[in-house]
């Protein structure tokens, strides 16, 4: 019985990791860019939400609603003014720029917000739970998972059924020909990164409500996000949900055996998948 409980907890935790991963996957899918500051941007968004709740006295959900357009602007500007300038055939410049950004962001947040642990408090919701008959699950973890499913569903709709999604795919296929269609690839990239930051805001909301956060935890979130993407298979958004769930389950099982093994168990699960399915669980046919 306890193991079933652990399994369900792990899957729900995977929802959070899928939220971490979705933005990373979107950006990589469209412009082959790996943003090493992705985790730090999640933490940054969490602080933004915290700041809004503190100054306006809003509940975190409403605060996230305000933070989302701000984060869109941050992502848009980051892409427009920095990343677009280093995007090219050589993968080194964008990697180093985002690595520099990661270090700068972490330390900037450390100065501004101090190293203290913070939390987005939502009162009773934090400890609320729902009895599903065979297991009892926390309301918040369930909400996280549902939000991840909804976010991925929406992203897929955008990607495959809207004009914007068509532009994303066209620019990803061939930026030069896309520009002959009147699309400006750099503007499209900027919108994509902005969109990724909206998802980052959602991820930050649940990160901050479920656990403590401080400026140093970004890189670990990047690693979870990355693992979910690779396990899922590059370019598959639903895959990130499966990937997140695998990492989540491995972590909760590891923690159940020995609390010190939680993180390690997640990493090991990732390596095992990489060993037996190097292209992930749901690889896209081409690429």
């Amino acid at each position: 019985m306890i193991w079933l409980d652990v399994l369900v907890q792990g899957i729900l935790l995977g929802g959070l990791y899928a939220l971490f991963a979705a933005g990373l996957s979107l950006v990589f899918g469209i412009m082959r860019l790996v943003n090493l500051a992705h985790g730090d941007l999640i933490v940054f968004a969490a602080f933004a939400i915290l700041l809004i709740t503190a100054t306006l006295g809003l509940n975190p959900f409403l605060a996230a609603l305000l933070a989302a357009p701000l984060m869109f602007a941050v992502g848009w500007a980051l892409q427009r003014f920095v990343l677009n300038r280093v995007l090219g055939k050589d993968i080194l410049p964008p990697l180093l720029v985002t690595f520099g950004l990661s270090v700068a962001l972490q330390n900037g947040m450390l100065e501004v917000f101090s190293a203290d642990s913070q939390r987005l408090s939502v009162g009773a919701l934090e400890s609320a739970s729902i009895n599903l008959g065979i297991v009892t699950v926390g309301t918040l973890p369930l909400l996280t998972f549902a939000s991840a499913v909804a976010a991925i569903f929406l992203l897929n709709r955008i990607f495959y059924t809207t004009a914007l999604g068509r532009a994303f795919r066209a620019v990803s296929d061939d930026p030069t020909t896309a520009s002959l269609m009147g699309l400006n690839p750099k503007s499209v990239f900027a919108i994509a990164t902005g969109l990724a930051m909206v998802i980052v805001t959602l991820a930050a909301l649940y990160l901050g409500m479920r656990a403590n956060f401080d400026p140093s935890i970004g890189p670990a979130r990047l690693l979870y996000a990355f693992q979910a993407v690779i396990i899922g298979g590059l370019g598959s958004l639903w895959g990130t949900l499966a990937g997140g769930a695998i990492i989540g389950v491995a972590q909760t099982f590891g923690a159940q055996i020995n609390p010190e093994w939680q993180i390690l168990a997640g990493h090991i699960a990732f390596l095992v998948v990489l060993l037996i399915r190097p292209r992930g669980l749901f690889p896209r046919a081409v690429d």
Partner: protein, 349 residues
């Protein structure tokens, strides 16, 4: 008549200057104050780490952000040799190189499976795994770490000789020994990289970096070249890591596997100085040392500024300070590009 050469006038002068510098470096402890020796130890070890990262990332196109794994495992292997097997710390440094080599095999195996830029995060994951596993090693202090026992540090081979030679106290003599080893590692690393780049393998590496497929079509086994370079760089990084911790004598997983100290700083040195050139990290480490001495007290502000500086360099001078100098003056101290020299028939005897 023509011949292919990589030599330039500047490189000949640079070669002679380098030999002179090494000679000065060797005899320096005879008159330099201890603080200078310590600073030079720091500069030399960081320089070596930066050259090694530059080799795999700048020349080989394998952008690793997991170099801290090799520093950490090297340092811990040295500690294990001293504490568990009773080795003298200096020969135990070799264990550090061996351990890093062994770790590099699975790391390369996994990371090479990852597409393009995801290689970077893959190396980071392995470094994290290594840190977490080491933190479980209770006999070496687990998560909190441990120190080298006094008996081990007090009679390191050679220290007494140095102490007598220069009339130094033991602690200062240990610094001198560490400094000499750092100098040796730095010179050996740079000489090896220089030789590698000028060899056929170096050409192959350039081809691999620019385009895997093209390299394959001209008969270069891209995978093999990448493996060799990655393993070699990891081994050297492990040696440097072990040496640094002989000097520090106190270890913990968080410090030995620190991304900031062993990868971020190292990348900044290479970026600021100039990626893909041997001269880059030399210049970069001097700038870095200057910044470190002047601003390290500002803590996070300092790191924030370093990050911004690295971004600005990539945006506005992607080939770093040395790239700027090279563009202005055409200067090349360690030329690896092959140049075709046309020899004037008439001027020949």
């Amino acid at each position: 008549m023509h011949q292919v050469t990589t030599r330039t006038r500047a490189s000949t002068i640079a070669g002679i200057a380098a030999l002179a510098l090494i000679a000065v470096g060797l005899i320096l402890p005879a008159f330099a104050p201890r603080s200078l020796i310590q600073d030079l130890f720091f500069i030399l070890t960081m320089l070596t780490l930066a050259q090694l990262w530059n080799l795999i990332a700048g020349f080989g196109g394998m952008v690793s952000v997991g170099q801290q794994a090799f520093v950490g495992i090297g340092a811990y292997a040295m500690f294990a040799g001293v504490i568990l097997m009773g080795w003298d710390p200096v020969p135990a440094i070799l264990l550090g190189g061996l351990a890093a080599f062994l770790l590099a095999i699975p790391m390369a195996f996994f990371a090479f499976r990852l597409a393009g830029a995801y290689f970077a995060i893959g190396t980071w994951v392995i470094a994290e795994v290594t840190r977490l596993v080491i933190a479980q090693w209770k006999t070496l202090g687990g998560g909190t770490g441990t120190s080298l026992p006094r008996e081990a540090t007090s009679d390191i081979i050679g220290v007494e000789t140095i102490a007598n030679l220069f009339g130094l106290r033991d602690a200062a003599a240990r610094d001198v020994l560490a400094y000499w080893l750092a100098l040796g590692l730095a010179v050996a690393t740079m000489a090896a990289i220089y030789a590698l780049l000028r060899s056929r393998t170096g050409l192959a590496l350039a081809a691999v970096r620019d385009n895997d497929n093209a390299a394959r079509s001209v008969g270069v086994d891209a995978r093999r070249v990448k493996w060799i370079v990655f393993l070699a760089a990891a081994t050297m990084t492990g040696l440097v890591g072990a040496l640094i911790y002989v000097q520090t004598a106190r270890i913990s997983p968080d410090a030995a596997f620190s991304v900031t100290n062993w990868t971020a700083y190292v990348i900044f040195i290479a970026v600021i100085g100039g990626i893909g050139r041997l001269e880059g990290p030399i210049l970069g480490v001097l700038v870095f040392w200057g910044l470190q001495t002047a601003f390290a007290d500002y803590g996070s502000w300092y790191l924030l500024a370093l990050g911004v500086l690295a971004i600005a360099t990539m945006l506005f001078a992607p080939r770093g300070l040395w790239g700027l100098i090279h563009d202005r003056t055409g200067l090349s101290l360690f030329p690896v590009q092959r140049r075709l020299i046309l020899i004037d028939e008439r001027s020949k005897p």
